[in-house]
């Protein structure tokens, strides 16, 4: 193997709430403890004092006293526009302030400085890298990072840029459910069909895979990129705050510190209710009333939690049906259901999975660690240690071009195995039309404008002819890394144009390099 192969590639699960790093020892993936002794690291970054940046558990500990300068759940902002409804909804419930960058991206403002989500994610990735380096006693500069299957190209590129800022060469961005399947099936000899039910802090993904002679073929993938454990926390926060407001005529959500304490208590209550039937929420001195301090003390039951979150639980069904449909699978064709992500610890979520697939989920899988382990397995596929397995993944979202009346014409449909190449013939809509603009979009909406725009280019000098008579063949080649090459050819003249689209994450190469230099300082 080439010289670089002697160095390890680490696998990082960059989660919404927690991150995890693993690497391959021999042919076995090993999860690495962080300096605080945890196998996972809270995905939190906070600024304290002048330029002091704290990452992970220490950041989580000081969150209550430093709410506006502690960033959590940055994964829900990465690669998104400030004006998007998702960000707007989210921003109103966050204690730190989300602002619009010059290019319209959602950034975070801490004091008087703004930070891109890429940069904040890079702090977490840096930390994971250091964890691995300390364990190995050797420098590491290559990584595989996992993302939700439903991330679009812009979000993937933004994650890749975060890796670059953290000084890592990102060898691959792989899908979280796929990684989980790799970790689960790598050492099982027999062929089987898996459903990976991945419900984490910020996203819900469902993937159906077939394992056949060591080839892990993703049959379909679906999900909801705006449904996660955070939403359950928010429901609990609102539940408690509404009740508090009717009793005390004070809205806890208007006070950053109170909101932060409430959020922490909500998350803890949610976790505890996975193993107990009732829990106590105890927040003394949460507000100051006219007659003195007010405390929030309340018993919360699992039943209350489940009924308050019923609408969220109900949203899990339809992506599963979509994924089964796309895989041409019935629930009974699925041999095993694997649960991934902290939210799958919730009994109501497990019941939902049982409901949908008609079989109990597999035990013996650690839902917090399996994704990072899968990323480490993938490093063995790339590095040559694991010759007997390979992953055939799919593109989760359709790729196409914008056509007449603003619609999107799909060239590569969702759930196509990558690498993929598809082409389609288009015609001009005006007489003597001398050029066409090929605008590339990604997404499932019928109207192109509602999807993610990846780029555009022009094919000019078309022959003059009545409308409809000039035919342009457009072909898309999507490689295994998600890089898309678009080519357009007019056959009668042989004129052609092409462009390689690597979705721009909103940061220029210079900015990434500048930030990379800065991050190394820590």
């Amino acid at each position: 193997m080439s010289s670089s192969a002697t160095k390890k590639i680490i696998g990082i699960d960059l989660g919404t709430s927690n991150s995890c790093v693993a690497l391959l020892e021999g042919t076995e993936p090993v999860v690495i403890h962080n300096q605080e002794g945890g196998r996972t690291t809270p995905s939190m970054v906070s600024w304290s004092g002048e330029d002091d940046i704290i990452v992970g558990a220490p950041s989580k500990r000081q969150m209550v006293t430093n709410p506006t300068r502690t960033v959590f759940g940055i994964k829900r902002l990465i690669g998104r526009k400030f004006s998007s409804p998702e960000v707007q909804e989210l921003a109103s419930s966050l204690p730190y302030s989300v602002v619009s960058a010059k290019n319209g991206d959602a950034w975070v403002r801490i004091d008087n400085e703004t930070h891109s989500p890429q940069e904040i994610s890079a702090h977490i990735l840096s930390k994971m890298r250091r964890v691995a380096e300390e364990y190995l006693g050797d420098a590491i500069d290559e990584a595989i990072i996992t993302v939700p299957a439903y991330f679009d190209e812009v979000q993937r590129q933004a994650t890749k840029d975060a890796g670059t800022i953290a000084g890592l060469t990102v060898r691959a961005i792989i899908n979280e459910p796929t990684a989980a399947a790799l970790a689960h099936g790598a050492h099982h000899e027999h062929d089987q069909r898996l459903a990976v039910f991945d419900f984490g802090g910020g996203t819900f993904d469902i993937s159906i895979l077939a394992i056949e002679s060591g080839v892990f073929e993703v049959l379909s993938t679906s999900g909801d990129s705006q449904l996660g454990g955070d939403d359950f926390d928010r429901v609990i926060i609102d539940f408690l705050a509404d009740e508090f407001q009717t009793r005390n005529e004070f809205d806890l959500r208007t006070d950053a510190v109170a909101l932060q304490r409430l959020k922490e208590a909500a998350e803890r209550a949610k976790i505890e209710l996975s193993s107990t039937m009732t829990t106590d929420v105890n927040l003394p001195f949460i507000a100051a009333g006219s007659t003195g301090p007010i405390h929030l003390q309340r018993q919360l039951s699992r039943r209350e939690l489940e009924s308050a979150c019923r609408h969220l639980l109900d949203q899990l069904g339809s992506p599963c049906e979509k994924a089964l449909g796309a895989a041409h699978c019935r629930p009974e064709d699925v041999d095993q259901v694997i649960l991934v992500g902290g939210m799958t610890r919730m009994p109501a979520v497990q019941e939902k999975a049982l409901d949908i697939f008609g079989k109990p989920p597999s035990k013996g899988v650690n839902p917090d660690e399996i994704v990072a382990m899968g990323a480490a397995i993938h490093s063995g596929i790339m590095g040559g240690e694991l010759q007997e397995i390979i992953l055939l993944d799919v593109t989760p979202l359709s790729l196409g071009v914008r056509v007449i009346s603003g619609k999107m014409s799909v060239l590569i449909p969702a759930n196509t195995t990558i690498p993929a190449r598809e082409s389609k013939i288009f015609a001009t809509i005006e007489d003597n039309q001398t050029f066409v603009a090929i605008e590339v979009y990604q997404g499932e909406a019928e109207m192109a404008a509602q999807n993610r725009r990846l780029g555009r280019f022009i094919l000019g000098d078309l022959p003059r002819a009545p409308r409809g008579q000039v035919r342009v063949e457009v072909s898309f080649t999507l490689d295994a890394d998600g890089i898309l090459e678009v080519e357009a050819v007019e056959h009668s003249t042989g004129r052609e144009a092409s462009v390689t689209i690597e979705a721009a994450s909103g940061l220029s190469q210079d900015e990434i390099l500048r930030l990379a230099g800065k991050t190394r300082g820590y």
Binding site: G384, I390, K424, T428, V436, I438, G468, A480
Partner: protein, 371 residues
């Protein structure tokens, strides 16, 4: 066979690349069976196994730590293998390719499918007297603005609203009977008020009297109604070349349609007080549409529209007639464009919507022009 001796995978980038390029050359000159290393009588299971075996060796992920060029060749090799496999296994993407490759032939077939020679039942025998009830309703409807008129029908009618298709069919039939009963209309109507400014329609008689339209003076793209022409001969659009290029805005193609001036560039003299939809002309148009005489209907409607530029309902019919004329000639693109304009003028125009639906299911997609 391919899998014996995997030592090459451990070589330098250039060695690996040479090996992959050799494989690519072999695949380019192989039939799908040979590509996968199979005999032509291979079973489904053998085909699948061969594809998986090859995937494990040549998937680009195996070369992820190599140079970009190596990965590129590996991508090509894998695409060839996948292609061979989809051809043999008849999978999803294989089918997709087959259907797009047939686009050239779609037109002829579509035409036969969507243009039955006589889609409507034979017109009823002429009836001179029509009941005052429906006639009254018809008038009331037409004296209202288009959208309000639509609502008016359903609101004032105590019975459930009839489905639009039979309703309009009924109107057309009533109109038809009027047309049949008064053939003299045909002589009278087209000659009146032909002041419609049109550079391209051969039957336009008043071109030279017309001063330049607002858009021409301003050096902008022409409004849509002028660009749409009843025929499709090449080289007729002399304006296209001299038209100033607008900035390459992603929405410009759409905007040029929707930013149509509210008014037609030239107003013809006439009697605007009279409700055009209540006129014999309009009923004659509906009759012509009913008979499938799209060209003739379009000419009359165009005159009517020129005299009543504010009437979007008539405008919608103009575009609809043009669309059907195009469709008849097989110019599906133009038909599509015109139907869209018809629906822009009146979004509730059921005939246009139905025609557009049946068309769009059979037409390839068309890329926008950016001006």
């Amino acid at each position: 066979m391919l899998l014996s001796g995997m030592g090459w995978m451990l070589g330098s980038d250039s060695e690996v690349q040479a090996r992959l390029e050799g494989e690519l050359d072999r695949l380019k000159s192989s039939d799908p069976y040979a590509a996968l290393g199979l005999e032509p009588d291979a079973s489904k299971a053998e085909i699948r196994a061969a594809f998986l075996r090859n995937t494990k060796v040549f998937h680009p992920n195996r070369f992820a730590r190599r140079g970009r060029e190596v990965i590129k060749v590996a991508n090509e090799v894998f695409l060839r293998l996948k292609d061979a496999y989809t051809q043999l296994a008849g999978e999803r993407s294989g089918k997709l390719r087959a259907s797009t490759a047939d686009n050239g032939r779609v037109h002829g077939e579509t035409r036969r499918r969507t243009m039955p020679t006589n889609p409507l039942p034979a017109p009823p025998p002429p009836r001179v007297a029509h009941g005052s009830g429906p006639r009254g309703k018809y008038t009331a409807r037409n004296s209202m603005p288009p959208t309000a008129a639509k609502r008016g029908v359903t609101q004032t009618n105590p019975l459930p609203a009839p489905p639009p298709q039979p309703n309009r069919l009924g109107e057309s039939r009533r109109a038809l009977s009027t047309a049949r009963s008064s053939d003299r209309l045909a002589d009278r109507l087209p000659k009146t008020r032909v002041r419609f400014r049109s550079n391209d329609s051969p039957d336009s008689s008043a071109r030279s009297q017309v001063k330049p339209a607002a858009w021409e003076r301003a050096g902008q793209a022409p409004p849509i109604s002028d660009r749409a022409r009843p025929d499709n001969r090449p080289g007729r659009d002399t304006r296209a070349a001299g038209r100033p290029a607008a900035p390459l805005d992603e929405n410009s193609a759409l905007h040029s349609h929707s930013e149509r001036p509210a008014e037609q560039p030239v107003k013809a003299s006439g009697s605007p007080a009279e409700n055009p939809r209540d006129s014999d002309e309009f009923r004659r148009c509906l009759a012509l549409l009913q008979l499938g005489q799209w060209g003739a209907a379009e000419r009359v409607l165009r005159n009517l529209a020129a005299n009543h530029p504010e009437d979007m309902w008539i405008m919608a019919h103009v575009h609809y007639a043009r669309a059907r004329a195009h469709q008849e000639r097989g110019n599906l693109v133009d038909a599509h464009v015109e139907l869209r304009r018809a629906l822009e003028a009146d979004a509730s125009f059921e005939d246009a919507r139905k025609a557009a639906e049946s068309l769009s299911s059979n037409v390839p997609d068309y890329v926008y022009r950016i001006k």
